[in-house]
Symmetry: C2
Subunit: 280 residues, 2 copies
DNA sequence: CCTTGCGATGAATCCATAT
DNA sequence: GATATGGATTCATCGCAAG
């Protein structure tokens, strides 16, 4: 499992490492491949927002562009009858179970898995979590304010997304949950977002505080890197994975900025700084 | 399917009918048996709160009377246990699919199914809904105020229950949802409740308004009958089913009161009025 | 009438012990 | 060792009594 670590570049760095400091490591690559290179019991919590549909509910959707695919997800998914999408739903669940199973090894005993999902994928996500060996412990809704979701006339709007959480085995210790936690998350989807699924920083900050200070957070699907921004802002270590070069660069820039060592100036200058990792 | 109707008492009443007016019919009996006696396409929406069969990781935790299972402190909320709460997860899903499948026939095309569930049974409920032939269309959380659930130190509390909804086939028409609907329900569990799972009237009223005025609502697990109270209060017709005699009587009394024809006086007098139905 | 204090409550969950 | 059982635990809030 740790073979890649030993065969990597100098300093024991896996070949997927794009940027690394003592507080933050960013990998660019496939989640499953990078997971295989991570040592066991090295992380306190997996906090991640996997692609909800992993490419749409039907084969045709998967062939479209990413932009179009996700922009239309809300309505398109809701109109697909169950019978027709069984195969793809099963494939999504299988894929989730794969990386969840491997993440179970990387997270320490009693560590946490915290996953974002939408209503349509919620049952598949809880199944996959348990198939991956985790103990499913609950659901926390995330309520989006009006204007940040697509209302449907005369229907219940899909105004909520959901946080599914579980633990690696028993959970004898207290998590760092604020006693005044309201029971569900409120957060406005960022207006100037750099990723279609970018999460509100407020919500991520609340989640990050569950991990003990100085602990390590893993995000397998960074996107624009909000999880990492919240982690370093709250004094937690962060390990992030992103397969798309553009988003890996975006996440690195935003996390560097959060750590206070971003290079001021236009994007071009910042980009230079980002090129110390191998996108392969 | 409609054999029972024809073989019943005079006026074409099924033998399970306990009380009937033009606005409300209450059946006492098993949900599946009563469903078989109901005509096809006769109802606009199934709105019901089935026994959750939750409350334990192992099978034994679910067995035994519901009185002991759910009431662990102080006086019992209700000394009468309710039925159907002792299934393991597979059996629960199978059983739900059975009555959901039969209810699909009774509800008219484009009619709705609206089901309460808790976090643990949510995935099983959405599976059963679809297995029963319904198109699953969404989840609406019901957020309970602090003090009405059991918090756990340092953890996310199970502060929400969930409403799962779907339709019989396509849903071309608008449902009667208030455009200002907030996307999730807020409601305090009643303090002086007559059933351990009694729902807030406010929440039921919001749900009932989805059905067109004058339409018919079906509840297969009435309990204390809040669904019926809300239905008649909002000018909808109601068909209710409850297997436990005590709760059937409670529901009838509360719905009669909501219809404004309750007999004033002590419980003994009211009870006399209720005996015009055959508990068998 | 307002404040303080005390006891009761919750569709529960955990863990040590027994089988 | 796995499963079943029983008792302890959880805390913000509410109702009600007392001050």
């Amino acid at each position: 499992m740790t073979e890649l670590l030993e065969s990597g570049p100098a300093r024991g760095t896996a070949p997927s490492v794009r940027w690394s400091t003592d507080r933050c490591t960013i990998h660019q690559g496939d989640a499953l491949a990078v997971l295989a290179s991570l040592p066991s019991d090295s992380v306190d919590a997996l906090i991640t927002d996997p692609p909800y549909s992993s490419g749409g509910m039907v084969r045709g959707d998967r062939m479209g562009s990413t932009t179009g695919k996700y922009v239309t997800t809300g309505r398109a998914v809701a109109d697909v009858p169950f019978a027709g999408d069984t195969r793809d739903q099963r494939a999504y669940g299988y894929w989730c179970a794969l990386w969840l199973s491997e993440a179970l090894r990387v997270v320490r005993p009693s560590g946490l898995a915290i996953l974002f999902t939408d209503w349509r994928q919620l049952p598949t996500t809880t199944d996959a979590l348990q198939a991956g060996g985790w103990v499913w412990r609950g659901i926390v809704p995330w309520v989006k304010p009006a204007g940040t979701y697509r209302p449907q006339a005369g229907r219940f709007a899909a105004q909520c997304e959901y946080v599914v959480w579980g633990s690696r085995g028993e959970l004898p210790v207290r998590m760092g949950i604020d006693p005044t936690f309201s029971g569900f998350f409120h957060g406005r989807t960022p207006r100037d977002r750099e990723h279609i699924a970018q999460k509100p920083l407020d919500v991520m900050l609340e989640l990050i505080r569950i991990v003990p200070p100085g602990g390590t957070v893993l995000d397998l699907f960074m996107g624009s890197g909000t999880t990492g921004v919240a982690a370093v802002a709250e004094g937690r270590r962060f390990v992030g994975v992103e397969v798309v070069d553009h988003y890996a660069a975006t996440a690195e820039r935003r996390i560097r900025a959060a750590m206070g060592d971003a290079v001021p100036g236009p994007d071009g200058q910042t980009a230079l700084l980002l090129d110390d990792g191998d996108p392969g």
